[in-house]
C-alpha cells in the first residue's frame, strides 16, 4: 500500500503539470487514502471491529472522514480527508469540474501526510 500511495502522489503531480485537475484530484485522494491504510496497518489494525462501513475486509472511505485525525494524532487530518474526498467525488461523479487551485491547495498537506505515514 505504501508503494501505491507514493505512486498515486507522483501521478497526481504529473497530472497537475498537464492541468488535468479532475484526474489529478482522483489520484491525490487515493494517495491520501492509501497512506491512511498504510498507517493503520502499521498500527496493526484491521477493519474488523473498527470500521462498521467496511465491505469485504477493506477500509471504507467514511472511516477516514470520521477518524482521520487518529492516524497521526493531528486534529486537522479528518478535515483533510473530508476535503479530499469531497473533491474526488466532485471530480468523478459530478458535472462541475475540480479546479487546479483545489488540487494545488491540498497537495502540500497530502504530500506531508504521505511522507510521514509511509516513511
Amino acid at each position: 500500500v505504501k508503494k501505491k500511495a507514493v505512486a498515486s502522489l507522483a501521478a497526481c503531480k504529473a497530472l497537475v503539470q498537464r492541468d488535468l485537475a479532475d484526474s489529478a484530484m482522483n489520484r491525490l485522494y487515493y494517495a491520501l487514502y492509501q497512506a491512511g491504510v498504510e498507517a493503520l496497518e502499521r498500527q496493526g489494525r484491521s477493519p474488523k471491529g473498527l470500521d462498521g462501513d467496511s465491505i469485504d475486509g477493506r477500509w471504507s472511505h467514511p472511516f477516514f472522514r470520521k477518524n482521520g485525525s487518529l492516524l497521526r494524532g493531528d486534529s486537522k487530518d479528518s478535515k483533510l480527508f473530508k476535503t479530499a474526498f469531497e473533491l474526488r467525488v466532485r471530480a468523478d461523479y459530478t458535472k462541475v469540474p475540480v479546479e487546479i487551485e483545489h488540487v494545488e491547495g491540498l497537495l502540500p498537506h497530502v504530500e506531508k501526510f504521505v511522507a510521514q505515514t509511509c516513511s
Binding site: 472511505h61 467514511p62 472522514r65 462541475v96
Partner: protein, 183 residues
C-alpha cells in the same frame, strides 16, 4: 430544513462575503451512504478555493463537534458557477440569467449599495460605480431588460446586476444574503 442544519448555513452567511452564494442540493453516493446533501459555495475567487472550504469545515466542526456530518462541501469559482449552476438556480424558482464566464470576473468585486439609496435602474448605471447597482435592496428581479446592448463598459454591470438581483432572497431583511435551496 434538517440537513444541513440551518445554524451551519447561518454561520457561513455571517462569516463569508456576501458575494458568495450557496447552493444545497440532495446528493447520494454508493461509497458513503450517510451522505444526503452537497453544499456548493459559489463565486469563490480561484485563489481562495482552498482556504474558504477549509474555513467552512472549521465552522462545521464548531457546530457539529464529533457528530458525523451528512453532507459534502466544495467551493466553486465564478467561471464554473456561470457554466454549471445557472440552470440549477433557475430550478429553485428564482429567475437567473446565464452569464458568459468571461463576463463574470468583475462580479465578485461588487458590494451592496446602501439600502436607502436609489435603485440602480432609476439612477442609471453611469451615475456611480457599477457595484452600486448590485444591491440587496431589490426584492424582485425585473422580468425583462437583460439584453446585452450598450457599450462594453455596461455589459458586465448589467449582467452582474441581473444575477445578483436574482440571487437576492425575497425577504423583509434588507441585508439578507443569497441562499438557494434546490432541495
Amino acid at each position: 430544513m434538517t440537513q444541513p442544519k440551518q445554524e451551519f448555513l447561518d454561520r457561513l452567511k455571517a462569516e463569508f462575503p456576501s458575494e458568495f452564494a450557496i447552493v444545497v442540493h440532495p446528493f447520494t453516493i454508493e461509497e458513503d451512504r450517510s451522505i444526503t446533501h452537497f453544499v456548493n459555495i459559489l463565486m469563490v475567487p480561484r485563489d481562495r478555493l482552498h482556504d474558504v472550504v477549509w474555513r467552512a469545515w472549521e465552522i462545521a466542526e464548531e457546530i457539529y463537534g464529533d457528530e458525523p456530518t451528512t453532507f459534502l462541501m466544495t467551493t466553486v469559482s465564478p467561471e464554473a458557477t456561470a457554466e454549471h449552476f445557472a440552470e440549477q438556480l433557475e430550478a429553485t424558482g428564482r429567475e437567473c440569467v446565464r452569464i458568459p464566464a468571461k463576463l463574470l470576473s468583475g462580479i465578485i468585486q461588487v458590494r451592496r449599495r446602501p439600502v436607502d439609496s436609489k435603485p440602480a435602474f432609476a439612477s442609471g448605471w453611469r451615475q456611480g460605480p457599477a457595484a452600486q447597482g448590485l444591491a440587496d435592496g431589490y426584492t424582485k428581479l425585473p422580468t425583462t431588460g437583460w439584453s446585452m446592448h450598450g457599450s462594453s463598459q455596461t455589459k458586465t454591470p448589467r449582467l452582474g446586476h441581473a444575477l445578483l438581483a436574482a440571487e437576492t432572497v425575497e425577504a423583509d431583511d434588507p441585508i439578507q444574503r443569497r441562499y438557494y435551496f434546490a432541495a
